[in-house]
Amino acid sequence: MDPKLEEKFVEELEKNQNIVHKICRLYTNDQDSHNDLFQEITIQLWKAYPNFRGDAKFSTWMYRVALNTAITLYRKSKKRIKTEDYDRVMFKIASEDYDNTIEEQLKLMYAAVKQLNDIDKALVFLYLEDKPYSEISETLGISEVNARVKMNRVKGKLKQLLNS
């Protein structure tokens, strides 16, 4: 093993760990599952790291591996928890910045996003991360047109969920 490789990986992950935490928050409902998924993603990233050639940005590559893990590996091993802990998902919002209506709206939005399927969640996640469609399509392995069409459908789904 190359200790330098390991050191570099750990440093990069430490720097970019917010990405993984955000994915964990979207895909899990309690702190234990969050930590489990974080560890699982870390292990998968480390396993895949020798194949990371550095021609893409570390964070871009990380989105791909981390989302893949959340969608495929994690789903297989962990059953979903039904009780949704929205307070944890709903991140603490400074009260002076928002009035109650906006807070309520956000709460409903988070709840709606949590109800989406795993692939749609990944799409919304990348959208919220402000990624251009070219990058979304590359990360999820679909065409750009397809990504746009899917995103529009997801928006429709979210609207439906909000109105129901």
Binding site: F9, E14, N18, K22, Q39, I43, L106, V113, L128, K159
Partner: protein, 213 residues
């Protein structure tokens, strides 16, 4: 969709509230999963080693050594014991090496190779132990047949009544040996089987990942 834009703004704010994992924890995480199974193999082997050693010290007495002397296998017993403990020490070293190898592997392919290596080592270990038990059983039974008065009595009786009857006790002894070996085989199967099965599952998962890349 306005709500989604609202969410996007809020999404950026939440960065401040995200948990942080430190570098030490990340190191722990990447070393944890694949090494824990091999660590248990090492730990169980050491516990087993200590258990048998304590058992053999606890059960040995002047009488038992006298019995061994009476059977004329005293020297052979010493040689076998020394050999046995050397081989066990070697295996424990081997398990330790496997553990170190696996906890410092970086590529999937290498990890897969190491998993195969661990499985092979454990299999050798079980085969060696069963072979040793077989050798000791054969040694004790043969020595008893020659030097134990009770056994000699049986053999003398046999020669009086003819060859046919002589097979009875011999077959009985064989059955006894088989049962003992089977019990030990089950014991090892239970002790290491679970860990090996998990390792195999990891191997299969890794194989899938490797194919996907």
């Amino acid at each position: 969709m306005d709500e989604l834009e609202l969410l996007k703004k809020d999404w950026k704010r939440q960065e401040e509230n995200l948990p942080r994992v430190n570098i030490k924890d990340i190191y722990k995480m990447i070393h944890h999963k694949s090494s824990s199974l091999t660590k248990w193999i090492l730990v169980i082997a050491i516990i087993e080693f200590v258990f048998w050693t304590i058992l053999s010290i606890a059960t040995s007495s002047k009488d038992s050594w006298d019995e061994i002397r009476a059977l004329h296998i005293y020297e052979l017993n010493i040689v076998l014991t020394v050999l046995h403990y050397s081989v066990l020490a070697f295996f424990i070293y081997w398990f330790y090496k496997n553990y170190m190898l696996i906890s410092t592997t970086d590529s999937t392919k290498q990890l897969m190779n190491n998993i195969l290596r661990v499985r092979k080592t454990v299999n050798y270990y079980v085969i060696y132990n069963l072979a040793m038990i077989f050798v000791v059983l054969v040694m004790v039974i043969t020595a008893s047949a020659f030097y134990d008065p009770k056994f000699q009595h049986v053999f003398e009786n046999k020669t009086d009544k003819g060859d046919l009857i002589a097979w009875g006790p011999i077959l009985g002894l064989f059955a006894f040996m088989l049962v003992i070996l089977l019990l030990f085989w089950l014991f090892y199967k239970l002790l290491y089987g679970i860990l090996l099965r998990r390792l195999r599952r990891n191997y299969k998962e890794l194989n899938k990942l490797e194919l996907r890349n």
